[in-house]
């Protein structure tokens, strides 16, 4: 069953991604990107990352995509849709990406056995305390070990908010 869901979500992710970069109309690209992001959220759920699943749905699909659609409405993309969609270097870009993909595929097939370095340890649930849920486990580590990066990330978001407002405003 898990195998079936993995391949279903993989089709969503890759199909949405390919449609995103090939559509002429930017709104169609945005809708395809939503499909792709939903597939990624499903993969999070398959990998037992429930908190990230919720974050992906709320933040990406609810936040970033609405931002994209607003900008598509704000800037006039009708003229851009009539023009050439790919630039002059598309052939060499495809070749370079194919070479990188072949290399990575080669290493992945050669080194697949090396990825067995740490199979999930068999946790004795019977003796120990009840293992905490996903959200509790994340919060535990995020607010102790990663407290400083967490604060830095909040400052980064503040800077991004102020910066985007300053740039998008006509007259400051």
């Amino acid at each position: 069953m898990e195998t079936f869901f993995f391949y279903a979500f993989a089709v969503l992710v890759l199909g949405g991604g390919i449609l995103t970069i090939t559509r002429r109309n930017a709104v169609h690209s945005a809708i395809s990107l939503i499909v792709s992001l939903v597939g990624v959220a499903g993969l999070y759920l398959l990998q037992k990352a429930e908190f990230l699943f919720a974050v992906q749905i709320v933040l990406y699909i609810g936040g970033i995509m609405v931002l994209f659609l607003f900008v598509i409405m704000l800037v006039n993309l009708d003229e851009a849709a009539k023009e050439r969609q790919f630039n002059g270097q598309w052939a060499i870009a495809l070749i370079c990406s194919a070479v990188v993909g072949l290399q990575a595929t080669w290493f992945m097939t050669k080194g697949a056995s090396a990825l067995k370095f740490a199979q999930p340890p068999v946790v004795g649930h019977a003796s120990g305390p009840v293992s905490p849920g996903n959200v509790e486990a994340i919060a535990d580590v995020l607010f102790s070990e990663y407290l400083l990066p967490f604060e830095v990330a909040s400052i980064l978001l503040l800077v991004a908010v102020v910066g985007s407002v300053v740039m998008a405003k006509k007259r400051i």
């Binding site: 991604g17 995103t20 990230l52 740490a118």
Partner: protein
């Protein structure tokens, strides 16, 4: 069908990364270039979550949260720059922005 392993997730992540890279390198529309960057960051996240699940270690998910934070900041600033650019130059095509070109 054989069971899904970490290698499957890595292969899927690689494919998504390549799709995003091709989108960044070949498209002219800046909005779609920004969307391709989101695809690349999602490919990274799939990788992190796959290893987080394999190692039974929650640190990978923390990293994924930080990646998502960066993606949000990048999208907000990028779209702000895009609006400022469109107001000044009336174009959203990346190769028509050539003020600094020789």
């Amino acid at each position: 069908m054989q069971p899904v392993t970490t290698v499957h997730y890595l292969a899927l992540s690689l494919a998504l990364l390549l799709i995003g890279t091709v989108g960044v390198l070949t498209r002219r529309n800046i909005v779609i270039i920004l969307m391709s960057i989101e695809l690349i960051l999602n490919a990274v996240n799939i990788n992190l979550i796959a290893f987080s699940n394999q190692l039974q270690n929650v640190n990978g998910q923390i990293f994924a949260i930080f990646v998502i934070t960066d993606a949000v900041a990048e999208a907000a600033v990028g779209l702000g720059i895009l609006i400022a650019l469109f107001r000044n130059k009336e174009t959203v095509l990346a190769d028509e922005v050539n003020l600094l070109k020789w």
